[in-house]
């Protein structure tokens, strides 16, 4: 028990240090250890990191500057009605914190990230800035083929950057490493749904966020060790409500807000804050053409998300399924202010929940939000009301 407790504390402390290190010391250490290797920053939400990893590079997920970096320059680049994330990213870049990065991938998730790719081309022409045009056509023969070509073209850029060719076997090994990572993360997610009192939301969040910076193999090890250690703990089960959190897939809420929800009496049994590492459901094939495998996994098995056109299913059906599967009693919509994708999605998701009589409440936040009292009260009232409702 003591060992398990120490292990949990050690792992969470390591994850916490990574989370708070916006000078990217881990990236610098990686580069010292691998002087030839390159580092690629990946903007939210989903990038197929397998191809970056296969090129011998470190993919690092960039999610803004959180509540730790004062925005001095970033505000001069964006109007007040644009979300906080891009100003945080620009601040990191202009303050030199991203100097050890060699390139950046901007996935097609919204017009802000899309245009940020252009800002990058204008401000930092010496750095690779690749837009990743994620298909919104989910026919494997049409959108899937286009996406495979898109991946090939990004891989060509990465090969030019590193000066080395990437073989199909390299790609397959990386696909296997990420499959393993997703399996471990799923185990953690299932444990959260089953026994949330063992896995506080802030711990789970930090451990998953560590995957933003660590090499995938190291991250998988961390997740496995964390799950093994918490299973041995005797953490008290509280009379909390069980909620799903939705809408925070891009700009992240501050850690304090996540803690606030739990302190207000909500166990977060599922969330989309770290959906990027679970964007594909199940394994990607490790046989055959690896780029085609990545492409078909995306068009056939991407999760429901505001940035993916809901062609196959009724909007919100997957959220309702997630609520049922995780035995949640309600949903907290937590979306960044001015986030068109999340906020335009919400009325559809809320209608789907209403049909199934699943209660919900909604908040907006910015990554640098500092006051949680009002939200704490609202979340507490929500939690109380759904517990009563449940009875």
């Amino acid at each position: 028990m003591t060992d398990a407790k120490e292990n949990v504390e050690r792992i969470v402390a390591e994850a916490d240090a990574l989370y708070h290190d916006l000078d990217f010391g881990a990236v610098k250490r990686f580069k010292e250890a691998h002087p030839e290797a390159k580092v690629i920053g990946c903007l939210p939400t989903y990038s197929p990191k397998e191809i970056i990893h296969a090129a011998g590079m470190l993919p690092v997920h960039l999610r803004g500057a959180g509540d730790q970096v004062e925005i001095i320059r970033g505000d001069a680049y964006f109007q007040s009605y644009i979300c906080q994330l891009p100003r945080g990213i620009i601040e990191l870049a202009l303050s030199g914190r991203l100097a050890s990065f060699d390139g950046f991938v901007f996935p097609a998730i919204c017009d802000v990230i899309r245009n940020l790719s252009g800002i990058w081309q204008l401000l930092f022409p010496e750095k690779l800035a690749r837009y990743l045009d994620i298909p919104q056509n989910f026919d494997a023969a049409v959108g899937g083929r286009f996406y495979a070509r898109e991946l090939r073209s990004i891989l060509d850029d990465l090969e030019r950057l590193s000066g080395a060719k990437v073989s199909d076997d390299d790609l397959r090994r990386s696909i296997a490493a990420y499959n393993h990572n997703r399996t471990s993360i799923e185990a953690l997610m299932s444990l959260r749904a089953e026994r949330p009192w063992l896995v506080p939301a802030d711990e789970a969040y930090l451990v998953l966020r560590a995957g933003d910076t660590l090499l995938v193999e190291d991250h998988t090890r961390m997740v496995d060790e964390y799950v093994a250690a918490v299973l041995e703990l005797d953490r008290p089960k509280r009379d909390h409500s069980r909620v799903v959190m939705s809408g925070a897939f891009c700009e992240q809420p501050p850690l304090g807000l996540i803690r606030t929800f739990e302190r207000a009496g909500c166990y977060i049994v599922w969330d989309d804050m770290t959906i990027s590492s679970r964007f594909i459901v199940g394994d990607v094939a490790t046989e055959g053409d690896p780029l085609a495998a990545l492409a078909s996994a995306f068009v056939e098995r991407a999760v429901e998300s505001a940035s993916v056109y809901a062609c196959k299913r009724q909007k919100g059906s997957e959220l309702c399924r997630t609520v049922r599967r995780s035995r949640a009693e309600g949903v907290i919509f937590a979306a960044p202010s001015f986030c068109d994708p999340a906020l335009l999605d919400q009325p559809m998701l809320q209608a789907a929940l209403d049909k199934e009589q699943i209660p919900w409440t909604a908040f907006k936040y910015a990554e640098n939000l500092g006051q949680f009292q009002v939200i704490r009260e609202q979340a507490g009232t929500f939690s109380d009301s759904i517990r009563l409702w449940g009875q």
Partner: protein, 435 residues
């Protein structure tokens, strides 16, 4: 408010629009199918080749704002759960639907039989039609236009689009109408588009003259109307642009400036390039803030949102599906920021502008995110002063008239100081520019 005698082209456009809305109102009676689609990346020729009637929700939204109805519609959408933060075009449309779906001419709009989601240059389009799908419970066919992130169209992007047209969009229209795809008919319509496009470009480029015979932003939004909506590919559009061209040419010969809603504009003092959409809630007042000061917009990017024609693109009947793909991918907001900067730079130079002004609208991340960086870049490349104002498209809460007017006036003063000469003076080295 002064009443100004309308030119024949204005009368013609008004008639075209009225007829279109009459057809829409009678669509059910005549068994006509109705397709809702967006302005950027619209496939009007293809739709017309199937004899379906297009509806453009953005146009309804802007018309609602001009008729001062948008406020009600936006409140209605916010009442049913839409956030204050999101694009107001979407909310205006949803609110209008919920309040009876009455179109700009006062007639009810028919429900869509199909939503053609031309996902071109704006992510919000996806969300908008997901929302409309819930409202109308009708099929959606999506055309994903890849973004020109690298500043060019690649073979892969083009193939992807043509494959989508062949395997999804055309079959959806065949199923809707029960008619087979008629490529010859499409070619005929595309040839008509190209003729009208030639004349439209001639009109837009007439602003290279001094004085400019047109205002290429406030007036420009009228000039692009038929081309960007239901009329491209029709004889009506060809006639309209011939008429307009003749009127503009006559103004050039007479050395006349633009006609504004208040009458002919006074002497041209400032030549501006404008980036960003206009405000529609106070459109007339907004225009007057410029025209009263003798500021004429000689080129604008908003008038390229439904197609960029002034760098040579024309619909090409020899390659019907390929040309539709090229058209969609070339629309202004589907271009990378460096491409947009280069366009602005060339406008400043080619049209001998004194300034470049951004009207940043709260609604539109597609246009707005990055405009501050673009402006700085254009200033650096051209050496001219940039100006920045903030409004919204259809939400009057974000149009502060006094503030906007103040900013415009200070900006024009700044231009004045920069050129160091009296108003109206031709900058050193500038010659009469000809298109």
């Amino acid at each position: 408010m002064t009443t100004v005698e309308k030119e024949p082209s204005m009368v013609k456009q008004k008639e075209m629009i009225a007829e279109h809305f009459d057809r829409l109102a009678a669509a059910g009676e005549h068994g006509k199918k109705v397709v809702y689609t967006f302005v950027p990346g619209n496939l009007t020729e293809l739709l017309l080749s199937f004899d379906v009637l297009p509806v453009y929700p953005e146009i309804n939204a802007l018309q609602s704002a001009m008729r001062k109805r948008a406020g009600d519609f936006i409140s209605e959408a916010e009442r049913v759960g839409h956030s204050e933060d999101v694009c107001t075009y979407v909310k205006c449309d949803i609110g209008m639907k919920r309040k009876g779906n009455i179109g700009p001419t006062g007639q009810p709009l028919p429900k869509p039989d199909l939503l053609l989601l031309s996902y071109t240059g704006c992510f919000t389009f996806l969300k908008w039609f997901e929302l409309l799908r819930e409202e109308y419970d009708c099929p959606v066919v999506l055309l994903h236009t890849p973004y020109q992130a690298e500043g060019k169209v690649t073979g892969s992007m083009r193939d992807y689009m043509v494959e989508q047209l062949k395997s999804q969009v055309i079959p959806a229209l065949e199923q809707l109408t029960g008619k087979p795809y008629d490529e010859d008919r499409l070619r005929t319509l595309l040839a008509l588009s190209a003729r009208a496009e030639d004349d439209m470009v001639h009109v837009l480029e007439s602003a290279k003259h001094r004085p400019s015979p047109i205002d290429a932003y406030f007036g420009g939004v009228y000039y692009i109307g038929p081309m960007f909506t239901a009329f491209r590919g029709t004889e009506g559009a060809v006639d309209y642009y011939q008429t307009l061209r003749a009127e503009v040419d006559a103004r050039v010969r007479a050395g006349e400036g633009p006609i504004t809603p208040e009458g002919p504009m006074g002497p041209e003092k400032y030549r501006l390039v404008v980036e960003g959409p206009p405000n529609w809630t106070n459109f007339r007042e907004f225009w007057q803030m410029f025209s009263d000061e003798g500021a004429v917009v000689v080129a604008s990017t908003y008038t390229k949102v439904g197609g960029v024609y002034d760098f040579g693109f024309r619909h090409d009947p020899r390659d019907p599906l390929g040309t539709l793909a090229d058209y969609c991918m070339g629309c202004y907001t589907n271009r990378s920021l460096p491409q947009r900067v280069s366009m602005l730079e060339s406008y400043v130079k080619d049209y001998q502008a004194d300034g470049v002004l951004v009207n940043s609208v709260k609604s539109c991340n597609s246009f707005s995110a990055g405009q501050l960086v673009m402006l700085r870049e254009v200033e650096q490349r051209t050496g001219i002063a940039g100006g920045f104002i903030e409004t919204d498209l259809v939400d009057a809460r974000y149009f502060s008239a006094a503030n906007v007017k103040n900013r415009i006036e200070s900006y024009l003063q700044m231009i004045e100081q920069k050129r160091g000469k009296g108003p109206g003076a031709t900058p050193a080295g500038a010659k009469e520019a000809t298109p």
